[in-house]
């Protein structure tokens, strides 16, 4: 597959086609869409209408009564979600959201303006669920539901990463993520899913994690990490799995113990938790905090998330600690307690190191590791040597969900300022609640979708480029597993010369451990001497 070069890709035309937007026809051009989910994944999860098909096929082999299924599905969800009904009814098309979407900025396709993406569904809602739409048709902005509309939905609702940036700017808080979630549910009813979402979901359901790593494989990688950490630091840490009676269950995204650069963050967790002597265990059964259900349906969120509380109960822990992951934390923060709570078998989390009671988690009993670490640093419990990160000039990318669904904004910054010397913020309009998505969230981070990912990631990469050129930033820190997987190719494409790391990788580098040997390499196994060079 030939991907256009950056200088070609950036020739973006923001002009709208002359004939308006009501024609649903789309062209599935390679590089701009994701392949369909394999039938075996649907079957494993018990999802309907499994079959072999691809988006670029003319015939999608929809079930005979697909139209009724979609309309019934809409009716049901209009009854169940106030958000859905309200967001269908009250948009005034002011257009404030238009240029807030990274996919619109990067593609110039007017159907990627959040308002218009929503209208793709709203027009069908009007046609079948409102009087004016039934009476006046296209004059009232109504469209018939046709197979082409289904294809159009599939295309454009997989060009939304559920990042919620548009919702920040909407005067009514209309949240495209909510609309995208509903449409993807509807598409799922007729078996139109993407594989990059359903394969991880099926894996996760079966083995406990997205990658389909079986328990002994999980143990292998944890053991390997322990060995490697010993090699780097000279300190032998303990990392138990499925250990009953531990005080804390640690749940991390599976990429942390298998992906790069996630893995260095994993080493950071191991070093940190050993140093403060936290009595914790991993679970091979709940070896995934990330939740690809969020990109498929509310029901799938619940099905995959259930194991976190089930396992906390079985192991008899007091509370749960969660690693660095974006969408995972949207689920843990906004859905878990409602779906699978109440967690009345757990205790309100208290840091055994500082005595801090995490009152903000007194119901879910789950603490973000950045909250935990920030508290440790604040109480002076860690010996940190920021110069060990001297070769890095750091900026921080707020991951969409921790920023806009949690408000976890200051904790990671506080940590970064304590573990490295050089830190520069990206421009105001691209961080905190206005942060831009990596362009590959919500299950779109697959290689066949590469061009669209580079387009969607343009605003983020461009802000990195700004600080790279202005301050010499060479490291983008973040707290999301999808970021860590998809930002490296994005930056490679738009801003070569900037690496990506998790916040706890930098913590692990700076952490001076008791009994450690003379440190010559950082957690990447790369020489630390470069720090002096950087300072010289």
């Amino acid at each position: 597959m030939s991907t256009p070069k950056p200088e070609e890709l950036v020739q973006i035309q923001y002009t709208a086609p002359p004939e308006g937007w009501m024609n649903p026809a789309v062209e599935f051009r390679k590089g701009t869409f994701c392949y369909s989910a394999l039938a075996r994944n649907l079957n494993y999860l018990g999802l309907p209408n499994a079959r072999e098909w691809q988006p670029f096929d003319a015939d999608w082999k929809l079930p005979a009564d697909w139209k009724r299924i979609i309309l019934d599905g809409m009716a049901e969800r209009l009854r169940k979600y106030r958000s859905f009904r309200l967001f269908m009814d009250i948009c005034v098309r002011c257009g404030a959201c238009a240029d807030k979407c990274h996919f619109y900025i990067g593609s110039g396709d007017p159907k990627n303006m959040p308002v218009l993406r929503a209208e793709l569904l709203r027009s069908v809602y009007r046609r079948y669920f409102t009087l004016s739409g039934q009476l006046f048709g296209s004059l009232a902005g109504a469209r018939d539901l046709t197979e082409d509309v289904i294809k159009e939905w599939f295309y454009y609702f997989h060009q939304c990463t559920e990042c919620r940036r548009c919702s920040v700017f909407c005067p009514y808080g209309i949240d495209t993520a909510e609309i995208t979630m509903i449409v993807r549910e509807l598409l799922g009813l007729i078996g139109c899913n993407i594989n990059w979402v359903l394969e991880p979901a099926a894996n996760c359901f079966r083995t406990g994690n997205h990658l389909g790593i079986q328990p002994h494989g999980f143990k292998d990688s944890v053991d390997f990490a322990v060995d490697e950490l010993e090699e780097i630091t000279g300190v032998r840490v303990e990392a138990s799995i499925n250990r009953k009676g531990a005080e804390v269950l640690l749940v991390v995204p599976s990429a942390d113990y298998f992906g790069t650069p996630h893995y260095y963050t994993f080493l950071g967790y191991l070093a940190l938790l050993h140093e403060v002597g936290l009595d914790y265990t991993f679970s091979a059964f709940a070896s995934e905090g990330g939740n690809f259900g969020l990109f498929n349906s509310h029901e799938m969120i619940k099905r995959l998330n259930a194991k976190v509380y089930m396992e906390a109960k079985r192991l008899g822990v007091k509370w749960i600690l969660g690693g660095e992951c974006g969408h995972m934390w949207r689920v843990l923060h906004q859905y878990m307690d409602t779906m699978n709570g109440p967690a009345d078998f757990l205790e309100v989390p208290v840091s055994p190191v500082t005595g801090t009671r995490f009152e903000n988690t007194r119901s879910t009993k789950m603490v973000h590791i950045c909250e935990f670490t920030a508290d440790l640093i604040h109480h002076g419990k860690l010996k940190l040597d920021p110069s060990r990160n001297g070769r890095w000039n750091v900026t921080f990318h707020d991951s969409c969900n921790p920023a806009r669904s949690m408000g976890l904004i200051e904790e990671p910054r506080y940590i970064l300022r304590n573990v490295c010397h050089q830190f520069h913020e990206m421009p105001e309009n691209t961080i905190r609640e206005q942060t831009f998505c990596c362009g590959s969230g919500s299950g779109l981070g697959t290689d066949e979708n590469f061009e669209m990912r580079m387009r969607g990631g343009l605003p983020r990469a461009n802000a990195v480029k700004y600080v790279h050129e202005k301050h010499g930033v060479n490291l983008l820190a973040c707290i999301c597993a999808i970021d860590k997987a998809t930002l490296p190719p994005l930056l490679e494409y738009w801003v070569p010369g900037v690496d990506v790391a998790g916040v706890h990788e930098l913590v692990g580098n700076a952490l001076v451990m008791r009994g450690e040997k003379e440190r010559s390499t950082d957690l990447r196994g790369e020489p630390m001497v470069q720090e002096e060079l950087a300072h010289a």
Binding site: Y14, P171, I174, M310, H333, D337
Partner: protein, 338 residues
């Protein structure tokens, strides 16, 4: 050429529809027999539709549950005591939510954030200030409210203090006779800004539907006919008040000297009232119910209950261990069953 046609067609048909209502009402009012219909039946019917429609819509929204607490958080969460929480943008309690909602409803907080993205050479993305939409919307909405409240003097006797007060403030500059109301200018300016924006900015033009233009022209028609009556045609205010009062006590009587212009104005207002429940103008009620704004960001400290939460098929630990037990034992991992 084709580019202009699509949106102009929409805008033009909306303009014609609104003009049609005004002209039809103005002409019909010249026919003695139809006048009571325009003066009594149409306003009553419109008001009935407005009240019933509004309640129906709001009840239907309220009846739909809010299964999940999904605020769009725009500030620091309340977490560790030494980190300053954004009580307004990330409210953790009801007072914070009320404050956030008040800012949203009264001052259009979110629209105030608006920026304009521009892709420059380099490539370099630049996010510029874009406050005009906020200003135009604010001018229009607040003026409309004041104008509406000023109209109280037509339907309540004695004239409420609020209306008198607003009259004074609004005519503060004492320009012209009758005194020029600032809100009349602002209302028209706001509407014209919003209209030209729809017609001129390519993106907004592209997303605009007939209904968007219709609402704008309807409001413009009302504003223009109102201003015309007050400053140019000098409508017989006593007669208007006589009709309005008679309508409020459900004993309608029709004064003689009401102009065609007045009937056009009344018809447009009635059209707006009857149209409102079926239109996007329902945002006036909907904004209060938006779950991304009116909920606190206290998800982890207070459990939110979903009334239709149902059991789902999960993969249990037992099923999982059954599948992997042998491998787990071989790897020396603890198991429940041997």
């Amino acid at each position: 050429m084709a580019r202009t046609r699509w949106h102009l067609k929409r805008a033009f048909s909306a303009f014609m529809a609104v003009s049609g209502v005004a002209l039809l009402a103005g002409l019909a009012s010249q026919v003695e027999g139809i006048r009571p219909l325009l003066a009594f039946a149409v306003p009553y019917a419109a008001l009935t539709i407005l009240l019933l429609g509004l309640s129906w819509r709001v009840i239907r929204w309220s009846k739909a549950p809010v299964p999940f607490r999904i605020p769009t958080v725009c500030g620091q969460e309340k977490s560790l005591p030494w980190i300053k929480a954004g009580w307004l943008e990330s409210p953790s309690s009801t007072p914070g939510v009320i404050a956030r909602m008040s800012l949203e409803v009264l001052l259009f907080r979110s629209l105030f954030r608006n920026t304009r993205a521009r892709l420059g050479a380099g490539p370099k993305l630049i996010y510029g200030e874009a406050k005009w939409l906020w200003l135009g919307a604010l001018a229009f909405h607040w003026s409309l409210l004041v104008v509406l409240l000023r109209h109280l003097r037509f339907v309540v006797e004695p004239v409420p203090r609020l209306a008198v007060f607003l009259d004074g403030v609004d005519g503060f500059f004492q320009v012209g006779a009758p005194v020029l109301y600032a809100t009349d200018i602002l209302l028209l300016a706001g509407l014209l800004y919003l209209l030209q924006r729809r017609l001129r900015e390519p993106q907004i033009r592209f997303i605009s539907l007939f209904t968007d233009y219709f609402a704008l022209f309807l409001l413009l028609g009302i504003a223009i006919s109102g201003v015309w009556m007050r400053y140019l045609a000098r409508v017989d205010v006593v007669a208007v008040k006589q009709l309005a009062l008679s309508l409020t006590i459900f004993s309608p009587s029709l004064p003689k000297n009401l102009s065609a212009l007045f009937f056009a104005h009344l018809a447009l207002v009635s059209a707006l009232a009857a149209y409102l429940p079926f239109s996007k103008l329902m945002h006036v009620g909907g904004v209060f119910l938006s779950p991304t704004r009116n909920l606190a960001n206290n998800n982890r400290s207070k459990r939110h209950v979903n009334p239709w939460n149902y059991p789902v098929k999960v993969h249990t630990y037992e099923e999982w261990e059954d599948e992997f037990r042998d491998k787990m034992k071989a790897a020396g991992m603890p198991v429940e069953k041997d």
